[in-house]
């Protein structure tokens, strides 16, 4: 398609007539995302203090859930300790197998893509601001065309939400000398909130929206599909907010469980 019969001058990095503080947004995204990556990596490599149980509670850090290979007490799903196939020269932590799922979900998420292309790759730095590179491929060819796998990543991410809901449920049960009974601690609320926020993020995914009804041109004769589509749409409208709130909350949840199991804080019990 050759529709352009003109040449426009090239503008340099950062060139703009914008007066507002356009750099605040990409800088914030850069700081919060980097902070999260650093914290999550650190927490995942610890391999301990991810399960708080000293006072009868059952709080499992979301970074370590589902606990496939548990080294630390109770609810592991496959085996205790390190899997046999794990190369011995690599450090093992039960979190590492798990973070790949949610990590890929966020990495390929439509919202995060737009955000980190700006904050980490300056493409563009901000709207109507000059860029550092002349060449551009976008998501039109390799490597970024691979972002299209996002639709497959959605399904495991949805399964993780279910597992986290189960963890939230487990967090409502406390064990003492007389046995196990129902209760609510601050940790229970933190864990349940975590599952709900991640659910709001995951089920507002653009791919979910497409698969549930977006691919059809007519939903009028499909009442159940229409309802589901409307629900996903409602979440999708605020996808950005869900993305940030759930990101921060999941890190805080891990921190809470970590500090609790290290004995730095005590869990306040609301119903016990």
């Amino acid at each position: 398609m050759s529709n352009a019969d003109f040449h426009l001058p090239q503008r340099g990095l950062g060139s703009t007539a914008r007066r507002d503080r356009w750099w605040v947004q990409p800088l914030t995204v850069f700081c919060v995302l980097s902070g999260f990556i650093v914290y999550a990596t650190w927490a995942a490599l610890q391999g301990k203090h991810y399960f708080a149980h000293a006072n009868g509670e059952h709080y499992l850090s979301p970074f370590y859930s589902p606990l496939l290979y548990g080294a630390e007490h109770e609810p592991y799903w496959i085996a205790q300790g390190v899997p046999k196939w794990w190369p011995s020269f690599l450090p093992f932590s039960p979190a590492m197998l798990i973070l790949i799922g949610p990590g890929l979900m966020r990495f390929t998420c439509y919202y995060y893509r737009g955000a980190y292309y700006k904050a980490f790759w300056a493409d563009p730095l901000s709207c109507a601001v000059g860029e550092p590179r002349k060449g551009y491929r976008g998501e039109n060819s390799f490597p970024l065309i691979m972002q299209n796998v996002h639709r497959y990543v959605f399904y495991p991410a949805a399964a993780f939400v279910m597992v986290l809901l189960y963890d939230g449920y487990k967090a409502l049960w406390f064990t003492d000398a007389e046995g196990t009974h129902f209760g609510v601690g601050v940790g229970s609320i933190v864990l349940i909130m975590n599952a709900l926020l991640l659910g709001g993020y995951t089920f507002g995914c653009h791919c979910a929206r497409h698969q549930i009804g977006g691919f059809l041109n007519s939903l009028a004769k499909r009442p159940i599909r229409s309802k589901c589509y409307a629900c996903v749409n409602a979440l999708n409208k605020r996808h950005m907010y869900w993305a940030w709130v759930s990101l921060v909350w999941v890190a805080l949840t891990d921190l809470y469980v970590r500090l609790l199991s290290m004995g730095y804080i005590t869990d306040f019990r609301i119903i016990f």
């Binding site: 352009a4 426009l8 090239q10 703009t16 292309y117 563009p124 551009y136 998501e139 299209n148």
Partner: protein, 257 residues
Amino acid sequence: MGEQRQATFSVWRGDHQTGKFVDYKTTVSEGMVVLDAIHQIQAESASDLACRWNCKAGKCGSCSAEINGKPRLMCMTRLDILDMTQPVTVEPMRSFPSIRDLVTDVSWNFRVKKRIKPFKPRKPDAEDGTWRMYQADVERVQEFRKCIECFLCQDVCHVLREHHKHDEFAGPRHFVYQAALEMHPLDVEERLGQVKGENAIGYCNITKCCTKVCPEHIAITDNAIIPLKERVNDEFYDPITKLFRIFRARPKAERKD
């Protein structure tokens, strides 16, 4: 009339190859928009200043410009949202060649649009050549029909603005247009090949700048571009969905129903 005061406007004079900002002082008062100020400058001190406008109501899409670096309609930008203690810069859209001063040549957009496959409805539903469709189903595309073709989204999109892909990329406005056709309950045209190939939707990296500047508040990225990307994905990149669709083996017109 409220309080009156002096303000300075730094207005681009020239074309897209040569030109410079020229400062004009004029008196402004409450309730004025940038287009009023430009008209006043024309009347008072620069009768040869070129600008395009028509409705002064944000509905014709003629008065697009960049005000303090942001793509906006001049007629819908009230002075009270701007910092009037500094000169206000007014320049033409930068993704298209300026013919003179604030007037840009946007005909590229019309050439691109002409190549987009036109609406192709299925066979009429009734004997008298009419169709039946559900209100709920056309509602989704109503949003796209609000477009006033101001081309502010095209102006801000970095694929055009910074990377000058005018020869390969159709730009957000035309994805809105194609989404309106592609998602229309009556349309049976096969469009995704064009959306992916000739119009290269893959260049969009979903930065949402277009959505932010749209004066009609069309959720361009979320409601037009991403759903189109997903449909392109179904058709060209996703073998599993493709397989399912083969088993279902329903023609497009029916599938969309």
